[in-house]
């Protein structure tokens, strides 16, 4: 692991990649898998994973490899990585409210904690990150701050995605005010709103491909 970290660090200095590993990160239930599905369906016609209202539906890293984006005559090959939602707490009792048995709830919580660990480990192996935030929620959460601080420290290009802008309570400007130093793209992954704007941002801000 240490050697692969060192190798990654060395490669990053030169910033040259054949394919871009595009990580989709964010808190739980902000619409990461909906976004991954939208991107994947737009370019390959296939979805990446199942979407659910139950928190921590994505408990394993879901991949869609060799997704070819064509933006303004530029071609970018991406490996799409839909990450489990980041969280500082996972209480199995939460799942009881969704009708899980105690045993199933505990199992899900266990898988969810492993998912968070897995997502954090993957931070060493992504080239560009879409930091997804729910535009109807307060963006100044410690998870968002820690995630963005981490990416900055690792020199990983990041695009903040203000998702769910189709909802009445959405306030993407609050995200811009909270994180003025990052490009913020408003989308509704569910409705497919402004996905073109997001693809242009990916082409503009991603670590350069060969």
């Amino acid at each position: 692991m240490a050697f692969s970290n060192f190798f990654q660090w060395f490669l990053n200095i030169f910033g040259m990649k054949k394919e871009i590993r595009l990580g989709i990160y964010g808190s739980v239930n902000v619409g990461k898998t909906t976004l991954a599905n939208r991107i994947s369906k737009d370019w390959t016609g296939e979805e990446v994973g199942k979407v659910s209202q139950v928190p921590h539906e994505t408990r394993f890293v879901q991949k869609k490899e060799k997704v070819l984006l064509k933006v303004n005559r530029k071609k970018i090959m991406i490996n799409l990585l839909d990450m489990p939602g980041l969280a500082t707490k996972i209480d199995y009792k939460t799942f009881l409210r969704y009708g899980f048995s105690k045993k199933a709830a505990k199992q899900r919580a266990k898988e969810a904690t492993n998912g968070v660990i897995e997502a954090i480990k993957w931070l060493s192996n992504v080239d560009t990150v879409l930091a997804v935030m729910d535009a109807t929620q307060d963006p100044l959460t410690q998870i968002n701050i820690t995630l963005l601080g981490n990416l900055e420290a690792r020199n990983i290009p990041v695009i903040v995605v203000a998702n769910k802008v189709d909802k009445k309570r959405a306030d993407p400007d609050a995200i811009r005010e909270a994180f003025p130093q990052y490009p913020v793209i408003e989308v509704s992954a569910l409705k497919g709103k402004n996905m073109g704007g997001l693809y242009e941002a990916i082409a503009k801000h991603s670590r350069r491909a060969k």
Binding site: F6, W9, T88, K89, I90, L140, T146, A153
Partner: protein
């Protein structure tokens, strides 16, 4: 039900390596203590804290709530901070390759509150302050 709050100076945390620092914080928080530290963990260290928290989650410990107020750095100070970060990152990669223990890293200027999620129900953060809602 009672809960305990500990206020910890940056000196106490500065003298520990990253792993020991995280272990110190989590052992306190898992015992039900709300910890206020004079200093802010670096972003990657805070991510390690979350990772280690997840490893320790069990039926009685659903995790942590954490919030920090970091002094904003500007200009040359900010550049120096980034250079130091890269230096420490490189140093720790080399240490990892050679099997040596990680170096000690100092905390950033600021304030951090870390507590058990079973007591802290919500933290409302503003750029320069935060409010903590507890339920005991």
């Amino acid at each position: 039900m009672k809960f305990k709050m500990d206020f910890v100076s940056s000196v106490t945390l500065d003298e520990k390596t990253r792993d020991k620092r995280i272990s110190f914080i989590l052992s306190k928080v898992k015992d039900g203590t709300i910890l206020v530290t004079d200093g802010v963990l670096k972003a990657d260290e805070e991510m390690d804290l979350i990772k280690e928290t997840m490893r320790r989650v069990d039926d009685g410990f659903p995790g942590i709530e954490v919030c920090s107020l970091k002094k904003q750095t500007k200009g040359m100070q900010s550049v120096l901070e980034k250079v130091t970060d890269q230096k420490e990152r490189f140093q720790n990669l080399i240490f990892g390759l050679t099997g040596r223990e990680e170096s000690k890293t100092s905390l950033r200027t600021g304030l951090t509150l870390i507590g058990p999620a079973k007591y802290i129900k919500k933290i409302k953060k503003n750029p320069n302050s935060f409010s903590v809602m507890t339920e005991v």
